[in-house]
C-alpha cells in the first residue's frame, strides 16, 4: 500500500524512537495529547507507548465522535428508530453505543426497529430511493472529516426530490473541543492542564486546514503538530512537539504535508457551510456543554432535518457519576485510576464515554494496553 507501508516501517520507528529518547530531557516530563481517536488507535495498535521514554506521556483526547456523543442523543436516536415509519441508517460504529438503561441501537434492532448499517451516506440515499414508503433517517455523527459526506447527502436528496430522507445531525467541531479542554480547568474547577502540546488531527485538518489552530498558539501558548495517522507520522510528530518544548517554541506545525494545507479543502468547507450552521451550544459526553461546538441544518434545509421533521424532543441523561472521563480527557488522570475500569466498565458494558469505542482512552487501554497495568503497579510498589 503506497503512502501507507512507508509509514509503518518498524526499523525506522525504532530509529526515530532512539532520536526521541536521545533528545528527551531526562529532567523533564513531557505530556502531549493526541486529540484524535485515529492517533489513539495508531499508538495502541503499534504499541508506541513502549517505544517512548518514560517521561514522554501521551494523553488520549476526546477526538472520537462516537465517544463524545451524549447518552441523551443516543436515546433520541433509539426513540426515532422505534417510530414504525422510520428506517434509521447509521455507521456501524454507533450500533453498540449504550444509551440509558442499557439500551443501544443493536438491541433496538433486535427488538424490531428497522436499523440499517451503512458504509456511506450514499448508501442511505439509495435506501431512501428504494423504499419511498419509509422515512429514512441518517444518524449523522463525526467531526469535520465526516461532515462533508453528510452535506453531500442532503444536497443529493434535494436534487433528487427525495421527500423521505432526513438527517439526525450530531456533527461536532474539533477546534471548539480543543478550546474547551484548554479552558476546562478555568471553567470546571479542574486541575491545571498539564498538556504541553497537541497532535493535531489528520483528516479533520485535511478539510479545515491548519489555520484554525493558530489561535491556540496566540491565546494559550500551545503547541500543535498536525500529524498523519500512520505510526511513523505519529512518532515524527511527537519528536516535533518535543523539539518545540525543548526549544521553548510554541507553534502550529504540519507533519502531514502530503494531505493537509493551511487552507484545507475549500470546496468541502463551502459545501458544509451551505448546508449546516453553528449550534449555540452542544453537549459533549465527558466534557459537558461546549458553545458553538456543533452543527445543525440551516433553515433552508429544514425539511431534511430529522429533529424538525419528527419534532424530536431532547432527552437529557447523565453518565455514571463515578466515571472519570472528564479528568482523563484533560490528562489529569489515567484510565486505570478509575475504580470502575475493567470491573463494571468494559467495552461490552461501557459506563462512560472513554470506554465506548476502541479509540476512547479507556477502551484503547482495555483493548490494547492493560497488560501494562500490573507491571506499572508493581513498578510503583517497588518504587514506594
Amino acid at each position: 500500500m503506497k503512502h501507507v507501508d512507508e509509514y509503518r516501517d518498524g526499523k525506522l520507528a525504532r530509529a526515530i524512537a532512539a532520536t526521541i529518547a536521545a533528545e528527551a530531557d531526562p529532567t523533564r516530563d513531557y505530556a502531549f495529547m493526541e486529540f484524535c481517536g485515529g492517533h489513539t488507535h495508531a499508538i495502541s495498535r503499534y504499541g508506541l507507548e513502549d517505544l517512548l521514554p518514560a517521561n514522554v506521556r501521551m494523553i488520549h483526547g476526546p477526538g472520537c465522535p462516537v465517544c463524545v456523543l451524549p447518552i441523551g442523543r443516543v436515546d433520541e436516536a433509539i426513540e426515532l428508530a422505534k417510530n414504525p415509519d422510520v428506517t434509521l441508517a447509521t455507521y456501524a460504529d454507533l450500533m453498540r453505543v449504550p444509551g440509558s438503561r442499557g439500551a443501544s441501537l443493536i438491541k433496538a434492532k433486535a427488538a424490531g426497529a428497522d436499523i440499517r448499517m451503512v458504509y456511506s451516506t450514499l448508501d442511505a440515499i439509495r435506501i431512501a430511493e428504494e423504499r419511498p414508503d419509509r422515512q429514512v433517517v441518517f444518524f449523522a455523527i463525526g467531526f469535520e472529516t465526516t461532515t462533508p459526506p453528510s452535506a453531500m447527502a442532503v444536497k443529493l436528496a434535494e436534487a433528487r426530490g427525495l421527500t423521505n430522507f432526513s438527517i439526525f445531525c450530531n456533527h461536532v467541531l474539533t477546534p471548539s473541543a480543543i478550546r474547551a479542554i484548554l479552558e476546562a480547568p478555568k471553567t470546571g474547577g479542574l486541575p491545571p492542564v498539564r498538556i504541553q502540546g497537541f497532535l493535531g488531527p489528520s483528516h479533520v485538518s485535511a478539510i479545515i486546514g491548519t489555520k484554525p489552530y493558530d489561535t491556540f498558539v496566540a491565546e494559550f501558548a500551545q503547541r500543535i503538530v498536525v500529524s498523519g495517522f500512520e505510526p511513523l507520522d505519529v512518532m515524527q510528530s511527537i519528536l516535533m512537539l518535543l523539539r518545540q518544548v525543548n526549544e521553548g517554541r510554541t507553534a502550529v506545525e504540519n507533519q502531514y504535508i502530503r494531505a493537509v494545507t493551511p487552507e484545507g479543502n475549500r470546496a468541502a468547507q463551502a459545501l458544509v457551510d451551505e448546508v449546516f450552521e453553528l449550534r449555540d451550544s452542544f453537549e459533549w459526553r465527558g466534557l459537558g456543554a461546549i458553545p458553538h461546538s456543533a452543527l445543525r441544518l440551516r433553515e433552508r434545509y429544514a425539511t431534511f432535518d430529522a429533529e424538525r421533521r419528527f419534532a424530536m424532543t431532547p432527552i437529557v441523561a447523565s453518565d455514571n457519576p463515578a466515571c472519570e472521563c472528564g479528568t482523563i480527557l484533560i490528562g489529569a488522570k489515567q484510565p486505570a485510576d478509575c475504580r470502575l475500569f475493567g470491573t463494571v466498565c468494559t467495552p461490552e458494558t461501557p459506563m462512560g464515554s472513554c470506554m465506548v469505542s476502541s479509540e476512547g482512552a479507556c477502551a484503547a487501554h482495555w483493548t490494547y494496553g492493560r497488560f501494562r497495568d500490573r507491571a506499572r503497579a508493581s513498578a510503583g510498589r517497588a518504587a514506594s
Binding site: K2, H3, A21, A22, E23, G38, Y119, L122, A259, V260
Partner: protein, 78 residues
C-alpha cells in the same frame, strides 16, 4: 476517528464517481469533494468519499524528513 486510507484512482466514472485501488482491492467512491482527478492520483478515502488528494512531492519530503529524524541520533550517539 475518521478512518481513512490512501488509494489510487484507477478509473474516472460518470457522476463524480471513481474506482480506486488499494493493493488489489478495488472500490467505487465519490470524488465530489475533491474536484478534478486523474487516473494515477492518490486520494484519501473516508466513508466512500475522497477527502483530499495526496501531494506526491510533499510525500517524498516527509519520507526524507523521517529518514533524517531516524538518522540524526545515529550521528549524535556515534
Amino acid at each position: 476517528m475518521c478512518l481513512a486510507i490512501p488509494a489510487q484512482v484507477r478509473e474516472i466514472l460518470p457522476d463524480g464517481m471513481a474506482r480506486v485501488g488499494l493493493d488489489g482491492v478495488v472500490k467505487e467512491i465519490s470524488t465530489a469533494l475533491v474536484g478534478d482527478l486523474a487516473v494515477g492520483d492518490y486520494v484519501i478515502v473516508h466513508v466512500g468519499f475522497a477527502l483530499s488528494k495526496i501531494d506526491a512531492v510533499e510525500a517524498e519530503r516527509t519520507l526524507a524528513l523521517l529518514a533524517e529524524a531516524a538518522g540524526a541520533p545515529a550521528e549524535a550517539m556515534a
